[in-house]
């Protein structure tokens, strides 16, 4: 006797009807209470026309993915994801950003000038990481809570400023144009920049087997990204575009 395939699906459907789950709590009520405390999101921004959307989305997403890929590091044979832990303390692990070092050491190791934000109230970064690859190094400045830059409860991070040389080939990014992240072209430091909004950045990477994998891995939050003198900068986790741009403009 064997279990035919069609009957197995039918049995699962019957089982589904009999399943009992824990009672659903009043999530809507709890969410409503939390939304009262949330800043009002930005509304009314619309995706641009399809052709422009495609071009803008593709170019930005390449940059965004380059940044995200660089942030997580990659190994021989493919990229390796290292998502930030969901710890309420400032506890982003060294694996995600690289080796924890002093700012001075990061400046020695990076193959580019490491700029730091000079925005009032931000002060020095709580942690500095350096990673290679990417070639030329990547430097991440990680901040806990600062005035106007609250800590994300899941990542435990208030702000991350990352810089790296963008020298990675964009061969794997064609699928990204279909993804649900919103991209806005802006200007920072008199350069074209992009604001990637949405809590869930979706990235595509190559796993150890060489297969393309699409994964929704939250890093720190909404991201402002731009390129300057061959270096790609990302400001992640700021509560708004304006707050991210203020950090960007203060880089010295």
């Amino acid at each position: 006797m064997s279990i035919p395939g069609d009957s197995l699906e039918a049995r699962l459907v019957a089982l589904a009807e009999a399943m009992e789950y824990p009672p659903t709590p009043d999530i809507a009520g709890a969410v409503a209470r939390r939304l009262e405390r949330e800043p009002v999101p930005t509304f009314g921004r619309r995706w641009p026309q399809p052709r422009l959307r495609f071009a803008l989305g593709l170019s930005l997403l390449v940059l965004a993915v380059l940044g995200l890929i660089a942030a997580i590091g990659f190994a021989v044979g493919g990229l390796r994801l290292t998502p930030a832990p969901a710890d309420p303390s400032l506890s982003v692990g060294g694996r995600g950003f690289g080796e924890r070092v002093s700012l001075e050491v990061a400046r020695e190791r990076a193959d580019f000038m490491v700029r730091v934000p000079t925005l009032d109230g931000l002060g020095d970064a709580d942690r500095v990481y350096v990673a290679t690859p990417p070639a030329g190094g990547q430097v991440s400045l990680v901040y806990g809570a600062r005035p106007g830059y609250p800590v994300d409860p899941e990542s435990g991070v208030g702000l991350v400023v990352t810089a790296f040389r963008a020298d990675i080939g964009p061969e794997t990014f064609e699928k990204l144009v279909s993804l649900d992240i919103r991209v806005e072209a802006v200007t920072v430091r008199d350069r074209p920049a992009w604001w990637i909004a949405g809590g869930d950045h979706v990235i595509v990477y190559r796993d150890a087997d060489g297969d393309l994998v699409e994964s929704s891995v939250r890093m720190v939050g909404d991201t402002l990204v731009w390129e300057e003198e061959g270096v790609t900068y990302r400001v992640e986790g700021a509560p708004s575009l304006e707050a991210a741009a203020a950090v960007a403009e203060s880089l010295r």
């Binding site: 395939g5 197995l8 089982l15 009999a18 969410v31 509304f43 009314g44 899941e154 809590g199 994964s215």
Partner: protein, 187 residues
């Protein structure tokens, strides 16, 4: 008022323009599904509640990213699924006995006789117990697809993987479930 309940798409359209009441109505409609999805991922009701709440709050913050005309359900599932998976990575309790909890409380639907009802119950118990013994990835993909009735695209959104991955993963998981059931029958 138009005298009929607004559709999900209409509520989402209002929500993207800042109508918090419309969004809260959407949350009410989806809270049970979101909670059960998170429960299957996490295996703990308290963690599932927190993950679903976090997901809905995050979705509100990111509502500007919702593309007009898209279906709200997979978009919300993607965010709630991501919240649940992040919580699991972050060390949330993770019970593997999630499916066994339902065994003692299940109803036996209308059966032609008491004997048939007993047989139906035994068959379900066997299926449930076998499913519960599968490895976690297999159990989760089968549960989302067949016990919660998500489409493959929705399972993909929930798990944050491509649809093709869900298709192949589901196919392998069903084959293993079938093998396990056959093995038990043969014994």
């Amino acid at each position: 008022m138009e005298g009929r309940p607004l559709t999900d798409a209409e509520l989402m359209e209002l929500a993207t323009r800042g109508d918090v009441a419309a969004y809260e109505e959407l949350v009410r409609r989806y809270q049970e599904l979101a909670f059960r999805v998170a429960y299957l991922v996490l295996g703990d009701a308290d963690d599932a509640r927190d993950a679903a709440q976090d997901g809905f709050v995050r979705a509100w913050k990111a509502i500007g990213t919702f593309r007009p005309g898209a279906e709200p359900r997979p978009w919300l599932l993607r965010i709630v699924g991501n919240a649940a998976r992040n919580r699991r990575r972050g060390g949330a309790r993770h019970a593997s006995a999630v499916l066994r909890a339902a065994e003692d409380h299940r109803q036996v639907d209308a059966a032609p006789s008491a004997e048939a009802a007993v047989l139906a119950r035994e068959a379900r118990d066997e299926l449930l117990a076998t499913l519960a013994r599968l490895r976690e990835d297999d159990r989760l993909v089968i549960s989302l697809r067949w016990l919660l009735g998500l489409s493959e695209a929705e399972v993909a959104a929930t798990l944050g993987v491509p649809r093709g991955t869900v298709k192949s993963r589901l196919s392998r998981a069903m084959a293993r479930l079938r093998d396990e059931l056959n093995r038990e029958v043969a014994q």
